[in-house]
């Protein structure tokens, strides 16, 4: 697996505040990488350092094999980005905005610009928006246009900061389907978000940022792997306790957690003893539990010293 994004000891100091504190990101080709963190945990600063907008105080950023920010001219044309919300010239139409952005930098031929713009607009569902100025767009439409800008040159890597911001539930589902589709086509996606559900549904790997530190970085499947316990849903929890004496780890109403990695075995024991069972499941930690365990309190809490 080749590294698409890798940072080593990345630090950014703003005055006395250390926004990013020595993080080692490792995003590999083919990942959908979920970059999680509370508001103010340093996600956006990190994303900006990846793209060469903010210059690191210490440490290195390597993007598609090039040292940033020096290699920006070579590697950034292969990267599509949505950084902290979309931004456009309000008096111009969506297509005119994309044309200006496309003409501004290298990569992508001039001849097929019009076709690429039309394709990108179709991909995000703005194909029929016409010549309306962006100032008249809704928030969701602007978000879609920002996404179209990121897709314009068929990038190998998509860096998306909160891409579903301002979208309605249908829009969110559409964007999720689009990203999964692009991922199947070979695009690596780096998704920065504070929405756990979004990351849990999309991502294959997860990094968790807490107050500028990367407290967790692993495969999502491994983080939410079965814990070796079985959850039993039963109207008679006290009888479960009687049958499986010593194996009950926790009980909460009709929900009893029993040691044992095989629900079938647990089921056989309970049914054999005549205990009614409504449901059985392997116990898996949710991403939320994993993140809360790894990260401290909310980063925008400011306690008295």
């Amino acid at each position: 697996m080749t590294a698409v994004v890798s940072t080593r000891g990345l630090v950014k100091q703003f005055g006395r505040v250390r926004a990013v504190d020595g993080i080692d990101l490792d995003v590999r080709a083919g990942d959908v990488y979920g970059f999680l963190g509370a508001n103010g945990s340093g996600k956006t600063t990190t994303v900006r350092m990846l793209l060469g907008l903010v210059l690191p105080t210490r440490g290195e950023v390597e993007l598609l094999g090039g040292r940033m920010p020096r290699a920006g001219r070579r590697v950034l044309p292969r990267v599509g980005a949505l950084i902290e919300g979309p931004a456009h010239h309000r008096h111009l139409s969506g297509a005119a905005n994309l044309a200006l952005l496309d003409a501004a930098g290298p990569g992508g031929r001039r001849r097929d610009r019009r076709r690429r713009i039309a394709e990108a607009l179709d991909q995000v569902g703005l194909g029929g928006v016409g010549r309306r100025p962006v100032g008249a767009y809704s928030l969701g439409m602007r978000q879609r246009l920002g996404l179209a800008g990121a897709l314009l040159r068929r990038p190998e890597l998509l860096v998306l900061d909160e891409p579903t911001n301002g979208l309605d539930p249908q829009g969110i589902a559409e964007v999720r389907a689009l990203l999964l589709d692009l991922h199947r086509g070979g695009t690596t996606v780096f998704l920065s978000s504070h929405l756990l559900a979004e990351v849990e549904q999309l991502c294959t790997r997860v990094g968790v940022l807490d107050r500028g530190r990367l407290v967790l970085q692993d495969e999502l499947a491994r983080l939410t792997a079965p814990t070796g316990a079985t959850v039993v849903d039963t109207p008679a929890p006290e009888r479960v306790r009687a049958v499986l004496d010593g194996r009950v780890l926790a009980a909460d109403g009709g929900r009893v957690v029993v040691r044992g990695p095989d629900p079938a075995e647990v089921n056989a024991l309970l049914v054999g003893a005549g205990v009614p069972v409504r449901g059985l499941a392997l116990q898996r930690p949710t991403l939320e539990e994993v993140v809360l365990a790894a990260a401290g309190t909310s980063a925008d809490r400011v306690e008295r010293p």
Binding site: G52, L53, L76, L100, G105
Partner: protein, 269 residues
């Protein structure tokens, strides 16, 4: 990149509204002069205005002299202050840089677009001045009059007018350099434009103050009106050359500072 910046500058209605407003004042002055026939006495009021009633061909110069002290620098300060800070405020700067557009390249493109705006504005003021002058007043292009009282041939008058347009454009370039420099310091186009204007107001004010006479030769507005000297016979080059040198130094230093600041700055807008 330069092409897209030019398209951006001249594709927005605001640019043309600014130029139109800028031309309204000289036109108003011309109309009032025509209606009242009350020209300022020679040596008073804006340069060249006293001579306009007898020769409309001088009105382009009068028009430049009318907008030069205030209107033109305000327009240039607003446009140049908007150059980088406007993109930062709109949020489009981060997308341009991530596109990627090199920071030096972006700054050069912005500078070229501002220069183009300055040149177009000055030329339009002169052209509108010429049109208004020939329509409203008796134009005697066959023979103009120099400020010194001798006559100038048509070719001389045309050539010197072109030189004057160039000189005013260079003076405005100094304003643009201040605007562009402040524009890289802040994310607010308003603050950048006001910063450039504050410099000019300070300079104009100190220029009138005797106590500030030791620094007077270094004030950016000191030689602005030296283009009048181009119409003396013979041409009085001293102040024109000093003016060009002074603007050259300001432009060089400020653009270097703007470059140094912009290429090493964290873009957090």
């Amino acid at each position: 990149m330069i092409g897209t910046e030019l398209r951006k500058t001249f594709g927005r209605p605001r640019t043309w509204v600014t130029i139109a407003v800028l031309n309204a004042l000289p036109v108003l002055v011309a109309v009032l002069l025509r209606l009242t026939d009350l020209a300022p006495r020679p040596g008073e009021g804006p340069p060249f205005l006293s001579a306009v009633l007898t020769n409309g061909a001088l009105f382009p110069l009068a028009a430049l002299a009318i907008v030069l002290p205030l209107f033109l620098p305000i327009a240039v300060a607003v446009v140049s202050g908007d150059a980088v800070a406007g993109e930062a405020q709109a949020g489009t700067l981060r997308y341009l840089l991530a596109r990627p557009v090199g920071r030096t390249r972006l700054l050069v493109a912005k500078l070229v677009a501002v220069m183009a705006f300055v040149l177009v504005t000055v030329v339009v003021v002169a052209l509108v001045g010429y049109a208004v002058g020939s329509v409203l007043f008796e134009a005697r292009p066959a023979a103009g009059t120099s400020v010194s009282g001798t006559s100038l041939t048509t070719e001389e008058l045309a050539g010197r007018t072109l030189l004057a347009i160039g000189y005013v454009a260079v003076s405005m370039l100094g304003v643009a350099a201040f605007g562009l420099f402040f524009s890289t310091l802040t994310d607010s186009p308003l603050a950048a434009a006001l910063g450039a204007l504050a410099v000019l107001v300070t300079s104009s004010l100190l220029f009138t103050l005797d106590a500030a006479s030791p620094i007077a030769p270094y004030l950016p507005t000191r030689y602005w009106l030296a283009f009048v000297d181009l119409f003396r016979d013979p041409v009085l080059w001293r102040d024109v050359v000093r003016g060009l040198a002074l603007q050259g130094v300001y432009v060089g230093v400020l653009l270097t500072a703007a470059w140094a600041n912009f290429t090493t700055k964290d873009v957090t807008s």
